[in-house]
Symmetry: C2
Subunit: 376 residues, 2 copies
């Protein structure tokens, strides 16, 4: 909770639920990342928080942008960001969207399959492409699936095919998983990618770029290592596996850039027990899984929560959202405790909610409006 | 797929993804329910699909409405529905929202805790209230939690307190779980509620109403019993436990009213394999978990899917959405199979998507617009 956010909440008393994002924190995160990874080019992952205020500020600071859709490209263009600073990082694109992006100057495309490569060759002839390698990394708090990437052997063949299709076989990418807390995963992933660089070099293709994806954490309930520790792990892996011939490095921070900059203020709507023997209180907030806190799905992301009673005696709670949906429960198994004197009408602050909240918000579920946000 | 929807899709060729809802099917469902449960008053659960077209039509047909929030109440008022035909069925309400609703003529409120009861007594003096009993029913496809309701013993005390607080202790409610496929659950739930009617009667309170909630199913991948079978189960339980002194009966159908009336048309964006030995194809659609299909969470609701290649040879697939989110997978474990000659650009139709889709849709996740819908 920064002083700026505290002051805003105290003076403006906005209606809850609402998200307040301190742009200074984002600026500082950007500079910190630049400082510790000066050789890397930052492509901010717009999907983490596509607020125009955030995108414009990062553009002014020199960031490039990783986008998922034409909607996000249009947003960048609207902010005056040229297509060359945009990477179309989604491996699942409609043919017409590739053409649309290419016409607007976007020249860097991700893929992980033959079909996608052929679509790009047809609609963005000569473009730079990078193949996403499938990594099954452990240690990420947000579940990583096999949805993105292909196995190394297939990636090799596809990069050769990219050349044959007239594309620029520009590089390789991977992702260690969002909110990755196991630093050793970077070494494994970079090592595997470096081997493929060598193999392709022997086949006559000199790759120019490695895209290290995102994965740097925000600060939720568990302690996480600081950004310099992550940067060290990345650079250690890079120099170990690439020596002094480092390729261009791209990183795509999203969560680590904006997560800690946001505070979601909510109000306690109800506190109850289900029966006389119930050993847990049920605390119902005015925000839930469908109002912006989708990442509590399966209790994956465990936010820190502040109340004005902090420091007083606490007891176990189940935390739930305000909708009539029985699945709208935030935390039931994660062992949350809250002050015993918490009362209906009290405000609570959910910390590190700057990433992956506003846009996950449902459009009108249960007649509730989407999460309001203020960028200050 | 009704003829009207087929014709609409063929003639209009709307951009995908989109939902098309046949209002005639909803009208027919309403009449069928009226026919088989003539003694029950229907309170349509607005949250299932709050489209003005749906709400207005059901209002004209005589339905009452179960709402979750002031937003849904405002929608009803905008459609010319008087407050007396609205039940504020959410057990989690802000004090000021209760007052707001009461001022607009809403006079029927749900609760399941002492705090909520006191809020209602203060902001809606003299209103009719009903207490939701906690039922832990098995057999519901959408997960039922302990989020709503309180144990019978507590419900009894709260109804006595309701009287002492000057409220009208009107009735009791329960919910057997959405998409409940085990008919025996109705007997258990009605039986438990009837016992509490008797107990309260002995304590000097004559309850007037039983609210049987929703739970009637839509038709997903598994066969479900027909509506008359459900109606039989309900009426059998009611007459068994209440004899010929039936209280007023309220039912709150949502899913069973609108689910089967909607078809979600989507386009295949990509088909790939992750490696040369991959025994499953990955089929990526232009709609996913955050674009309206939230109920595929944990693969709970298993929609039927049609393609233009149906009847041809099929093979196993993983079905995923179009976003850069690794959690945006629809079905990985549920054993879905799709035609081997399915191709990129093909349209697919996801059936029975009229309920709990449009409003779950994320407001702007990955730069994608919310699900478009047509009511015809």
């Amino acid at each position: 909770m920064t002083e700026k956010i505290s002051r805003f909440l105290a003076e403006r008393v906005p209606e809850t639920p609402c998200l307040v994002v301190d742009l200074d924190v984002i600026a500082e995160n950007y500079e910190t990342l630049r400082h510790y990874l000066p050789v890397a080019t930052i492509y901010y992952a717009v999907k983490a928080n596509p607020a125009p205020e955030v995108v414009r500020m990062l553009a002014d600071m020199g960031s490039s942008f990783d986008v998922a859709s034409p909607g996000e490209i249009q947003l960048c263009l609207d902010m005056g960001i040229p297509g060359e600073r945009v990477s179309f990082g989604n491996t699942i694109k409609k043919q017409r969207d590739i053409a649309w992006a290419f016409e607007r100057g976007v020249d860097l495309f991700a893929f992980d399959s033959e079909q996608e490569l052929r679509k790009i060759a047809q609609s963005a002839p000569g473009a730079r492409v990078f193949c996403r390698i499938l990594m099954e990394c452990e240690g990420a708090e947000w579940p990583l699936s096999r949805k993105f990437g292909c196995e190394v052997e297939m990636a090799r063949d596809l990069m050769l095919m990219a050349r044959d299709l007239g594309l620029d076989p520009y590089g390789l990418s991977f992702h260690v998983g969002s909110q990755q807390t196991n630093l050793a995963q970077w070494d494994i992933a970079v090592g595997r990618t470096a081997m493929l660089f060598t193999e392709l070099n022997e086949a006559g293709i000199e790759l120019k770029m490695i895209n290290l994806g995102g994965g740097f954490p925000a600060r939720y309930r568990s302690e996480v290592a600081s950004i310099d520790t992550y940067a060290d792990a990345v650079m250690h892996a890079m120099t170990k596996h690439f020596g002094n011939r480092l390729p261009l490095m791209i990183i795509e921070p999203g969560r680590s850039m904006v997560g800690d900059a946001g505070i979601l203020q909510s109000e306690v709507v109800l506190i109850s027990r289900k029966g006389y023997d119930d050993d847990k209180r049920w605390v119902y907030l005015d925000v839930g899984k469908f109002g912006g806190l989708a990442e509590t799905m399966d209790e994956a992301i465990k936010y820190r929560i502040r109340t004005s009673h902090d420091g007083a005696a606490v007891g176990p709670v189940v935390l739930a959202g305000p909708t009539c949906d029985s699945a709208d429960i935030l935390y039931e198994k994660a062992g949350y405790e809250m002050p015993l004197d918490l009362a209906v009408g009290d405000k609570v602050e959910i910390l590190s909610t700057g990433a992956y909240t506003t846009t996950y918000s449902a459009v009108n579920f249960n007649g509730l409006p989407p999460l309001k946000a203020y960028y200050i």
